[in-house]
């Protein structure tokens, strides 16, 4: 009987755990642990990316511009290659403001997805709720409402390689940061959604 109870208990614990940190070792959170994303934090840099978006089989591209305009506050503009603006959004820690958006994109579901993705992409700092590691990564977990964000720092150079946004059971969004330059610009970024067919690839435009 006791064995059965323990089994049930174990199973329920493991089934709750999201696959993101499966087989990782959990350790105690250190007092100075902080989740940090350096890639959009320099106010002197115009972060300008060629952006390829694939949504339910439709592909289109444009220019995505991100700029830190104040601490914890970014302006994000998406334009066509011709320069016409699709949207212009300002995102802060707890709030956002829409400066402009074209009629075709001005739908609640699209807007919510954009705000959620970009908030995750640009968030600079956050509290650490849990800490994990394996041979390749230190993982810091940040909790945000009903979601958890797992930040994967490469053990080799401490660079942030990946952010996984997940509910208790399922991974929702994965952001991969590749080709990190000397001034901390992620020159290739992939944003992949697990529950909807939406993928975004960003490539930094060099002068």
């Amino acid at each position: 009987m006791r064995y059965l109870l323990i089994s049930i208990f174990c199973v329920s614990i493991f089934s709750c755990k999201v696959a993101t940190v499966e087989n990782f070792i959990e350790t105690e959170v250190k007092s100075d642990d902080v989740v940090h994303n350096p890639y959009f934090s320099n106010a002197a840099i115009d972060y300008v990316y060629k952006s390829d978006i694939s949504v339910y089989g439709n592909e289109f591209s444009g220019i995505l511009i991100l700029k830190r305009i104040a601490p914890q506050r970014h302006r994000i503009v998406f334009t066509s290659q011709f320069g016409s603006t699709f949207f212009d959004i300002e995102i802060g820690n707890e709030s956002y403001k829409i400066h402009s958006i074209v009629e075709q994109l001005n739908r609640k579901i699209i807007l919510n997805t954009l705000i959620k993705d970009f908030s995750l992409l640009i968030k600079e700092n956050g509290k650490v709720a849990e800490r994990y590691h394996n041979d390749a990564y230190n993982v810091l977990k940040n909790e945000n409402d009903k979601y958890s964000n797992y930040y994967f720092y490469n053990i080799f150079d401490q660079k942030l390689d990946k952010i996984v946004n997940a509910t208790k059971r399922k991974e929702k969004v994965i952001i991969l940061f590749n080709e990190i330059s000397e001034d901390q610009v992620a020159e290739n970024i992939r944003i992949d959604h697990k529950n909807i067919r939406l993928n975004i690839e960003l490539n930094f435009l060099k002068k």
Partner: protein, 209 residues
Amino acid sequence: MLRFFLFSYIFLSFSLLQAQEVELSASEAKSFKNSVSKSAKQSRTIVNTFTQLKHIDFLSNDIESSGDLYFKSPNIIKWSYTKPYEYSVIFKDKKLFINDAGKKSDINLASNKVFKKLNDLIAKSVSGDMLDDAQFSARFFKNDELFIAKLSPNDSTLKEMFKEIVLSFESNKYLVSSVRLIEPSGDYTLINFENTSVNKPIPDAIFAH
């Protein structure tokens, strides 16, 4: 005292610079429009290089891109961006053909009014054949080197996209030398045309998708 003179001088020169752009009289405007229209009608093809600057107020630098432009009367047009990436669009047969670094796609202009308006606008602004268009309210100016047409869209679709479109023409050739598309926010896209050649044959392959 010297400083005062210096300030006055600088101030005056700026005022003079400002004043250099004068509005055309009704008869001057009419003759300018006729000349542009004549030049547009005679331009069966236009080939040039362009540089495009996207100005966004909160950015430290304008975003620059450049490439080649091909126009064949009345409305086939190809923008071929070569820097900082390979990207081309061809407006042809009521369709927009996109080649994104080898990835090809097309958009039906008949079903997309924004792109259709944009296409008409671009084709007409390259040739300059838009000055009498009822879709715009136009005012005309000149300075030493250029004629300047400032167009405000009357059409609601275009109005949402652009507050004003400013076309500059070399005063001797009546050919468009730059287009500034100003958005309602004040941010703008400036396209400068250079190395323009008119009526040079364009191989069909240029407009093939």
